[in-house]
């Protein structure tokens, strides 16, 4: 469980400087766009745009690969399986018994895979260029209750801590002769109890201490809290927001009002 990595990379690109609220909306707009666009080539164009934005945000190839590893597996599965379950249209490339594979089926599979790649990678624009605390601050500013914002930032903050704790617990049980990848399923699931119980108990103890620490620093003493940092939109942020908005609005207008097939 060493996989807890903060995706944020420090930097000073225009994406880093952009107001997190604009980034959140922008990413939502681009996600919606990926759902509207149905044409494979247009989707590839969108994916290229997202990758360019990621590159501008100084996302290294290694980090991008790390982030997309899981999605890549799903994409490969979809490309392989889709044609079998969606044998539509002509020309038929292969037909044997109930198995039928058509060219549009293959294209549809690839299209869906690319769409998933767009939907997954677009969020990395936000994650790679926004510190967790700024993200939470933006969400609070957008109307999320501060309590929830705090809970969210604590959860994010403690992920690596709990990751290290789980490692330590696994080590402690390994030192007691426990072997994780040996034995029957029954034995293995029993082994997981030996990790799960100490993890939950330690997490609860940590949470208890943390709540006391928060209260002793007067958490919740006043309803109307003030903020040290108050994110403010700058002119460039409005421009970026407008561009993101147009990127969604124009294709949507073209598709639903002008009935242009995209």
């Amino acid at each position: 469980m060493t996989g807890f990595v903060d995706l944020y990379t420090e930097g000073n690109t225009f994406l880093h400087r952009m107001d997190p609220r604009v980034k959140i909306l922008g990413v939502l707009f681009l996600s919606a766009l990926a759902l509207i666009v149905a044409n494979l080539y247009d989707l590839l164009l969108l994916l290229a745009l997202i990758l360019v934005l990621l590159a501008i945000g100084r996302a290294t190839l290694r980090k991008m690969f790390y982030a997309l590893k899981l999605v890549l597996r799903v994409m490969v599965l979809i490309v392989i399986l889709w044609p079998f379950f969606n044998p539509v249209g002509e020309p038929v490339l292969f037909h044997y018994g109930i198995i039928k594979i058509t060219e549009p089926g293959i294209v549809n599979g690839i299209t869906v895979a690319v769409r998933i790649a767009c939907l997954a990678s677009v969020w990395y624009i936000l994650m790679f260029t926004t510190a967790q605390r700024d993200l939470v601050r933006a969400l609070v500013k957008m109307g999320l209750r501060f309590d929830f914002g705090l809970a969210l930032s604590i959860a994010l903050r403690f992920l690596p801590t709990f990751g290290a704790m789980v490692e330590s617990i696994k080590d402690a049980q390994r030192a007691r002769g426990m072997e994780f990848d040996k034995g029957s399923i029954f034995k293995r699931s029993k082994n997981y109890v030996a990790v799960l119980v100490p993890t939950i108990v330690s997490a609860l103890r940590t949470a208890d201490t943390l709540s006391l620490a928060l209260q002793s620093r007067a958490y919740g003493a006043r309803r109307d809290r003030t903020y040290l940092r108050d994110p403010a939109m700058r002119p460039t942020d409005y421009v970026a927001l407008a561009l993101f908005g147009l990127a969604l609005a124009l294709p949507a207008f073209a598709k639903y009002v002008l009935q242009i097939h995209i």
Binding site: S168, D171, A172, G177, V201
Partner: protein, 286 residues
């Protein structure tokens, strides 16, 4: 490759570490070449500031960490050829935080987990569990829920769960942290009993008073190296090495050093020793 020394030299030693190095992912060199030979029945304290490599060294001895260079032999076999579970028969490791290992419904079940993992026959498991529980003084709470016990008792349960595997070497990682004076002396008398049974004790600690009272050999670590390996007297007569290793000498040792000009020796580690020396100076008169 340097040829391994023939077994004969190392025969008397249960654990032999040859020039082990360990570098963590991210490039932190935690061990920078450690040579160590440990006989059966020794009582060793590993002391040193935080980040000096104590825990990394300990974990290298039971296979939780595999040295990035050098080799470790345990019970005459290269540790690299054994799994952590196999090594657990020889080197037991009680972690600092007992809450990281307790999970069972009763103390007895908790203690049984280790020996059962090792595949001991039922009769032997029963015997070892009984022995561990009695030795750690847990007789009164054998059917209690381990996690509901006090920290002192939880730590005893975690140590009992290690000694029930009957390892020759028992590594204790800061076992006295957070205990009160009574719990501490109680725990240490159990550890002493284990040592008297023939177990090798390796105690990782910051507490120099504990070292003075119990250890027969002290390894002082600093910056990933063993900077001093001697009996406690040797360590306590060298205040400089203690201080440069971020360790606090016991007050009685500091006092003895102040009294050096009156003929008090420098290697005083316990009040009893000081009293003895002062009495000798006074000619035995009270």
């Amino acid at each position: 490759m340097i040829p391994r020394p023939s077994g004969k030299i190392d025969q008397d030693f249960f654990v032999v570490a040859r020039d082990i190095k360990y570098t963590y992912e991210g490039g932190i060199e935690a061990l920078k070449g450690i040579n160590l030979r440990i006989k059966k029945g020794e009582f060793i304290a590993i002391v040193g500031g935080n980040g000096s490599g104590k825990t990394t060294l300990a974990k290298s001895l039971n296979g939780l960490l595999r040295p990035t260079a050098g080799s470790v032999d345990v019970a005459g076999r290269p540790a690299a050829t054994m799994t952590v579970a196999e090594l657990a028969r020889f080197v037991g490791y009680a972690f600092q935080n007992p809450d990281h290992q307790l999970f069972s419904g009763t103390v007895e079940e908790e203690v049984r987990f280790g020996p059962k993992n090792l595949g001991m026959p039922d009769g032997e498991v029963k015997k070892q569990v009984e022995h561990a529980i009695v030795l750690m003084g847990l007789d009164g709470c054998r059917s209690s829920q381990p996690l509901s016990l006090t920290l002192g008792l939880r730590r005893k349960v975690s140590i009992a769960s290690v000694i029930a595997m009957d390892p020759q070497v028992i590594l204790l990682d800061e076992p006295t942290t957070g205990l009160d004076g009574r719990e501490m002396s109680d725990l240490m008398s159990c550890v002493r009993a284990l040592n008297e049974e023939g177990h090798t004790i390796i105690l990782i600690t910051h507490d120099m008073r504990l070292v003075a009272q119990h250890a027969k050999r002290v390894l002082v670590m600093a910056g990933g190296r063993v900077v001093l390996d001697s009996d406690p007297a040797g360590v306590f007569s060298d205040l400089e090495i203690l201080q440069s290793s971020k360790l606090e000498p016991p007050p009685v040792t500091v006092l003895a050093h102040r009294l050096a000009e009156f003929g008090i020796p420098l290697d005083i580690a316990t009040p009893e020793q000081l009293v003895e020396q002062v009495m000798a100076l006074l000619g035995g008169k009270r």
